[in-house]
Symmetry: C2
Subunit: 206 residues, 2 copies
């Protein structure tokens, strides 16, 4: 039985990173897929925890070798998802959590039609801009660039499976968890249980 692949996506500044951190802390059945990137670590980020960091040349080699299930260039940097970890975990029946840029989500859905693709967004555009400023890691030009990218990305929202508004962090995390749990209750993930029950009931058939 395949595990559930839950994909957390959405605008830069939506709070994806914090949400993912809370989810894996609270719900230990999520196996977090770490992305590979060619961008430099931000202050406080750690290799193998936030990302696997590499340079452009090695990233392009990974693409050529088919080691990524998706990759994407965002704001001048590569981001990609290593294939082996995701496939191994899902095939062994474990749940996987994946944080990904908007462009990559579409590819994941095509490769894993059974995955649950969730779009995270602040309640308003003003709130999104405010959060980017609060982060304090980017200059004005980069913030405006990110907002412009968000404007473009917003055309994709309706293609997601679910939209979760990140207004209250606790509620947002619980909402995502409930979406994953609901997916675990789908019949094609419960074939063993169904067959068992049908066999038990067979003796009552008249």
């Amino acid at each position: 039985m395949q595990g559930v692949l839950t994909v957390i996506s959405g605008f830069s500044g939506a709070g994806k990173g914090t949400i993912v951190k809370k989810l894996v802390e609270k719900y230990t059945d999520y196996n977090l897929s770490i992305s590979m990137t060619s961008r430099k670590p931000r202050e406080g980020e750690r290799e193998g925890v936030d990302y696997f960091y590499t340079d452009r040349e090695n990233f392009e080699k990974a693409i050529a070798d088919g080691m990524l299930i998706e990759y994407n260039e965002y704001n001048g940097n590569y981001y990609g998802t290593p294939r082996k970890y995701v496939e191994d975990k899902l095939n062994s029946g474990s749940n996987v959590l994946l944080e990904i840029e908007v462009n990559g989500a579409k590819n994941i859905k095509r490769l894993f039609p059974d995955s649950v693709i969730i779009f995270i967004t602040p309640p308003t555009a003003d709130e999104l801009e405010m959060r980017l400023r609060k982060r304090g890691t980017e200059n004005e030009e980069t913030i405006m660039k990110r907002m412009a990218i968000s404007a473009k990305e917003s055309a994709e929202i309706a293609n997601y499976d679910y939209i979760v508004v990140n207004d209250d962090l606790y509620k947002c995390v619980e909402d995502i968890r409930h979406i994953t749990e609901s997916a675990m209750d789908q019949p094609h993930r419960m074939t063993e249980f169904i067959t068992g029950l049908q066999n038990q009931l067979a003796k009552y058939a008249q």
Copy 2:
């Protein structure tokens, strides 16, 4: 925007009635669709609360007049869902909760492809039989007849959207609620929010 139609179905004795009662008590946005039946009230059941009771002749008149979105004969009695209430509530954006026999669920899904059809089951067949006995309202023959019907119905489980095991009542009720809430987060139910956000972001486009 259409509301969510959540359909609670499953074996006789699975605890559907208790679950529905708990759901509408706790979550007041569920509008409960009351079924019509030609069977006699069980002790403690009330007209317009548990069912609308009628006789076979009037039930057949309602069928002929197209007043039911589905009906079904189960164990010698008719059960059906009045059309107007469900359609009015959904069209006004309200959520509807509907308890239904297994045969009827398929019809509801065909008429309302967007509905969420949930199969409720005890964890085992033994547990199902025990619950039917505990109810104390049926004789041995009826219990065995109900178990035989369950054996037959079990072939349908895989066609449901979700399966919820009613082991712990509290957990079962919460699981169902989370399935409804997830459905409320689907993009086609949030078109107003999406359009609003896209409009706010448009000014940042470069």
